[in-house]
């Protein structure tokens, strides 16, 4: 980190005292501040622009279908009947499955990485998880279609059917592409973010907490359970909600494995459809205005829900990071 010689400093020397008395122009400073302010305001404008554009693009559909758009389940472009319920249902169910799988694994991994693992193994695992986070959704989808789906169809799904086939969730024929496969692929996508945010949260737990529990003779796990996890509960909840936000908006991988059928079925072996996938699949096929408007409205619903979920997540995470000041040494 070397310091560049400031160009202004060199030109100061030969000036006479009188010249030096002239106050320097503040124009450059003001201009630069305003320029950077404008760029920083871009994020606010961007949120407004997205909301406005989605609202404008869907105004006809909002007028025509009203609140029924969210509560009816017919999606028929030919008769121009549009109800988003199957997509809302698919998004919620697939995200719920994803959280059910990803949350225990991610939080346990974060606990392992901050509290229980030997020091030398921590950084390599963290790097590997960062690499998983860097894999594009479309590549996970490709792997899902050609590797995960055939495997699920041949091994775990029949097993689930044999043991839990009596419940409505695991009954009916097994196709492979299904709500359950969609949930699993979303789980893989959100594992890294929940893990890394949880890890940050656990690392921000003050060491005093741990030391107090150790002083009482607690084992490593008891320290984690009593002093760390209970302290970090709120932040971990924030990490989960942040994962939910990503799960709701996950598009490519889930589109490639969920089967893309607008239906509401109890069986997780049946194909489903999500808000993001229907936009991805049908946007370029929307031939009529009202069809396109309906898809914009789906975008509006998706945007509204993810903004809300992210808002909650950020609030949960922010309050935590402002209250904890001491940072645990890794």
């Amino acid at each position: 980190m070397e310091i560049a010689t400031p160009p202004a400093a060199a030109s100061l020397a030969p000036r006479s005292a009188a010249q030096a008395m002239v106050p320097p122009s503040r124009f450059g400073d003001k201009a630069f501040e305003w320029l950077t302010l404008a760029m920083a305001m871009a994020v606010v404008l961007l949120v407004i622009l997205i909301g406005w554009q989605l609202w404008r693009g869907s105004s006809l559909a909002v007028q025509k279908f009203g609140f029924h758009f969210l509560t009816t389940s017919t999606w028929d472009p030919v008769t121009e009947q549009f109800g988003a319920l199957p997509f809302i249902y698919g998004t919620l169910v697939s995200s719920f499955i994803a959280l059910l799988i990803a949350v225990p694994l991610s939080v346990a991994t974060a606990v392992y990485l901050t509290e229980l693992a030997p020091l030398w193994i921590r950084q390599p695992i963290v790097s590997l998880i960062e690499m998983l986070a860097a894999i594009p959704s479309v590549i996970l989808g490709l792997w899902g279609i050609f590797v995960m789906i055939p495997w699920l169809r041949d091994y775990p799904f029949p097993l689930l059917k044999r043991f839990f086939g009596w419940t409505p969730f695991f009954s009916g024929p097994i196709y492979g592409t299904s709500m359950l496969a969609g949930g699993i692929i979303i789980a893989i996508m959100i594992l890294p973010i929940i893990t890394s945010v949880s890890r940050e949260i656990l690392r921000s737990v003050p060491n005093l907490q741990r030391e107090a529990a150790y002083a009482l003779g607690a084992t490593r796990w008891e320290v984690t359970r009593i002093a760390v996890l209970s302290y970090a509960r709120k932040g971990l909840f924030g990490a989960v909600i942040l994962g939910l936000g990503r799960a709701l908006g996950e598009t490519m991988a889930v589109t490639m494995v969920i089967g893309n059928t607008p239906q509401i079925a109890a069986s997780l072996f049946k194909p489903g459809y999500t808000l993001a996938s229907v936009i991805a699949n049908e946007f370029t096929e929307a031939t009529t205005d009202i069809y396109l408007q309906a898809l914009f409205e789906i975008g509006l619903v998706l945007f509204g829900v993810t903004i809300l979920v992210n808002l909650i997540a950020q609030l949960l995470l922010k309050t935590l990071t402002t209250t904890s000041t001491t940072r645990a040494v890794q």
């Binding site: 630069f32 760029m39 554009q53 989605l54 225990p104 392992y112 998983l132 084992t219 991805a280």
Partner: protein, 288 residues
């Protein structure tokens, strides 16, 4: 005596619980990184044989003809990234400078908050918005539209990393420059940003690696193209889009090409990540 033995049992029990917790969380960590290993293995197994000279030099062949490549998609992706950078880098970097150097704490906290929320907005939303803004208005899919969608996604990513690394520059640097009579904006550009330049570049590279693999926002902006794009106001091919199209097609030849494309894309993204790791070597906390 009985009390003593129960205490010993209790102690053993607690030790077992401790070992059990360590084992369970270790297995969880293995399960979390397992998909990475599996994906890598299958990418190499299915894609390596199709990554050859033709892949990097030929256009896609029509259905039924073996061979062909994705040169147009690779070049298309690079063009889109260049265009996205032209939008995302100036806005993101300068916005990050504002958050770190100017503004009141309260207003900046709000801006930061908005940027974080924006980071969580699904990428396909950007595609829909750019479709409405550009594609509908100019009556056609175009490279401009695709680049704009990717550029907008880059803004909050770069803004946050830039802010973080600029805050790491010691205040003494700023004070030294200001004490010499250097204008504030020159202090920021020539001292602060120069000192933080490695970190800023790291943030930019990570953002590029992230949007380079994005498919959803390109579906109805860049749209894809089986041929060369000679005009940026026409549809353009992109590597992730091509992978998607080939993956959901019913043809074996195309599936092989999709695997090859995926291998190339992942290799590119990991090269960028390795570069980032080299740039940030020695820093204890990562910029992300």
């Amino acid at each position: 005596m009985t009390m003593h033995s129960s205490r010993a049992d209790n102690h053993t029990w607690r030790k077992i619980m401790n070992a059990l917790a360590s084992a369970t969380t270790f297995v969880s960590a293995l399960l979390v990184i397992a998909p990475l290993g599996l994906i890598f293995f299958h990418l190499l197994a299915n894609g390596a044989s199709s990554v050859n000279w033709a892949f990097f030099t030929h256009l896609p062949k029509p259905v039924g003809e073996a061979g062909g490549g994705m040169v147009n998609a690779i070049v298309g992706s690079l063009e889109l990234l260049a265009f996205a950078s032209a939008i995302g880098i100036p806005i993101g970097v300068l916005g990050g400078v504002y958050l770190a150097e100017y503004g009141t704490a309260r207003a900046n906290a709000l801006l930061r908050f908005v940027a974080d929320v924006l980071n969580g907005v699904p990428s396909i939303t950007f595609g829909v918005v750019v479709y409405g803004l550009v594609v509908l208005r100019f009556k056609g899919f175009s490279a401009y539209a695709g680049g704009l969608a990717l550029g907008l996604i880059m803004v909050p990513l770069i803004l946050r990393t830039t802010e973080e690394v600029i805050l790491l520059v010691p205040n003494g640097y700023r004070e030294a420059a200001l004490a010499l009579g250097v204008a504030r904006w020159k202090t920021i550009v020539y001292i602060v940003m120069k000192t933080a330049s490695k970190g800023i570049i790291t943030g930019i590279l990570l953002a590029l690696a992230r949007v380079g693999g994005e498919t959803a926002p390109l579906l109805f902006t860049a749209f894809g193209n089986r041929f060369w794009n000679h005009n940026l106001s026409e549809p353009i091919a992109a590597l992730p889009l091509q992978i998607f199209t080939y993956a959901i097609s019913p043809y074996d030849d195309w599936h092989r090409q999709a695997w090859a494309g995926a291998l190339v894309l992942v290799t590119g993204i990991f090269c960028v990540n390795v570069l980032v790791r080299i740039l940030t070597r020695g820093r204890t906390t990562s910029a992300v």
